[in-house]
């Protein structure tokens, strides 16, 4: 098996010295598609921030056996100022920054790539609009494009489907499956129905992390993992959650 992209050992993390997460162990390999579920306040977002290096662990270790990977990030859309005066294209291009070249101006290829992603995420014709004129779903798609423009090795998605309208849902999942060919995906979601059908493995995060090496979720599994989440999915066929997708 290849070296993991990220290896988390005995991690404890939280805010102001109070841990939200304890004893977390997790390896993320290239081409993993990990669904992260768990109740609100269970530490899903906290774990993602440690992965991203924007929150320091209280104890334990986060290592990158194959070197520090390029990580793309889609934060929870409600955390971002939707009325900020910036165009869709500039938001997407902000994903091009890299540690040593963050101050450099952008090349023509970068801009062409942004145009391609605008098309790919169904935002054609909206590139020059201020983000304030977008719907919640469109804004979220622009933030997704920002997350993937730099061809990351690991893509961290925090609730990417909160606003996405049904009309784009299928395209979104097709896009994620496509991206998964070249990058690992760490996807936090409330919608177990979608998670179960797309992801390869599941982690339940509730104060600590329980890894489930398959994408089949049953009530028993959730019980064993102490993962008190609603099994009723929001999709049109709720019980597909329980079905095996082998």
């Amino acid at each position: 098996m290849s070296k993991p992209l990220v290896s988390i050992q005995n991690l404890s993390a939280g805010y102001n010295g109070t841990p939200v997460l304890k004893n977390v162990n997790l390896d993320i390999h290239p081409n993993d598609f990990l669904g992260v579920i768990g109740p609100n306040g269970g530490g899903k977002t906290t774990l993602s921030k440690v992965l991203l290096g924007i929150l320091n662990p209280l104890s334990g270790k986060v290592s990158f056996p194959a070197g520090r990977p390029n990580i793309g990030y889609l934060p929870q859309v409600s955390q971002i100022d939707h009325s900020f005066p910036v165009s869709v294209k500039d938001v997407i291009l902000s994903g091009m920054a890299r540690p040593k070249t963050w101050w450099k101006s952008l090349s023509k290829e970068n801009k062409a790539k942004a145009d391609y992603l605008i098309y790919k995420t169904g935002l054609s014709g909206l590139g020059n609009r201020p983000v304030g004129q977008l719907s919640g779903g469109q804004f979220q798609r622009a933030l997704l494009a920002r997350a993937i423009i730099n061809d990351p090795q690991l893509l961290v998605l925090d609730e990417p489907d909160t606003f996405v309208d049904r009309s784009f849902e299928k395209e979104l999942y097709a896009l994620l499956e496509d991206l998964n060919q070249t990058m690992a995906i760490f996807l936090i979601s409330h919608d177990i129905g979608t998670i179960s059908s797309m992801v390869k493995t599941i982690a339940c995060v509730n104060g600590t992390l329980h890894y489930h090496p398959s994408n089949v979720l049953t009530a028993d599994v959730l019980k064993v993992y102490n993962c008190p989440i609603d099994l009723i999915a929001h999709g049109p066929v709720p019980h597909r959650v329980l079905k095996d997708h082998e």
């Binding site: 290096g53 924007i54 934060p75 955390q79 005066p85 500039d90 902000s94």
Partner: protein, 276 residues
């Protein structure tokens, strides 16, 4: 009309005009950042905190401008620190700095023996007494601020829009935010000379909001604010001299008038469009 034209022949009026133009341009840049990030209240705190520095400088016989700059930068970085550490309610911290600065200023001005400076000129500005040294300092700061914006435009905007994401991309967010906090503090203190502590926020917010009616991007708002800020302050200055009223108040009146006229034009346009 003849009177207005002859105004331009006076040195004091030429100085005032230069100061008004430079201040408006500086406030256009910095104000766009303040308004976009929705930190107008923070800027109010910085402005009023700087009065403490003015009072102290008088008491110790130092340059009041330097005292104000030190206090303003201290307040600006302090608020930045509180908001990232989150150990205290940010708006309460700002209110405390705001009133503490004013209190310190008044205490030290009263304690200063002999000559006491004219409080009114600090509170409401005194554009007609601006000297060549003030103009030079303004010009230098405007050049430095412009260069910072030109060279680091993308990181500044990206950091203001979503600092957490910018950090994941390796942008030195703390450096950018602290540099901006210092530039904001210096711009505010320099503008106090023209606009006064109480009225200074107007030139950092009114032109920007007029610009927001026509532009949706950060760079557009800068352009619009330069345009509206400079034209408004020139008109205000002329009105102030023609009617013999305080310059800062007249400038605010003109800036607000521009905003109201623009808002009306936009509303009428929208109504006509929806009718068609």
């Amino acid at each position: 009309m003849q009177n207005i034209i002859s105004l331009f022949e006076y040195q004091f009026f030429q100085n005032a005009l230069m100061a008004a133009i430079l201040t408006s341009a500086l406030a256009a840049l910095i104000g766009t950042y303040i308004v976009s990030r929705k930190v107008v209240f923070i800027s109010g705190g910085i402005t009023h905190a700087s009065f403490g520095g003015i009072g102290m400088a008088y008491f110790f016989g130092l340059n009041p401008f330097l005292g104000a700059v030190v206090f303003a930068i201290g307040a600006s970085l302090g608020i930045e620190w509180i908001s990232t550490r989150g150990k205290m309610r940010e708006d309460s911290a700002i209110a405390i700095l705001w009133s503490l600065g004013m209190a310190l200023g008044i205490i030290f001005v009263f304690l200063t023996p002999g000559y006491t400076p004219n409080l009114m000129s600090f509170l409401f500005g005194s554009i007609l007494s601006v000297g060549m040294a003030d103009i030079l300092v303004l010009a230098v700061v405007l050049v430095v601020t412009s260069l910072f914006f030109i060279i680091l435009y993308r990181p500044v905007v990206d950091t203001a829009f979503d600092p957490e994401f910018a950090r994941t991309r390796g942008v030195p967010v703390t450096f950018i935010r602290n540099s901006m906090a210092i530039l904001v503090a210096v711009a505010i203190v320099l503008s106090i000379r023209v606009m006064g502590i109480i009225l200074v926020l107007s030139i950092f917010t009114i032109p920007q909001n007029t610009a927001l009616l026509f532009y949706g991007k950060f760079s557009g708002i800068i352009k619009g604010s330069v345009l509206f800020g400079i034209s408004g302050s020139i008109l205000g200055l002329i009105a102030a001299s023609a009617f013999d009223i305080p310059g800062s108040a007249a400038i605010i009146f003109m800036l607000t008038l521009q905003f109201l006229i623009s808002k009306t034009i936009v509303l009428i346009k929208k109504r006509n469009q929806s009718r068609m």
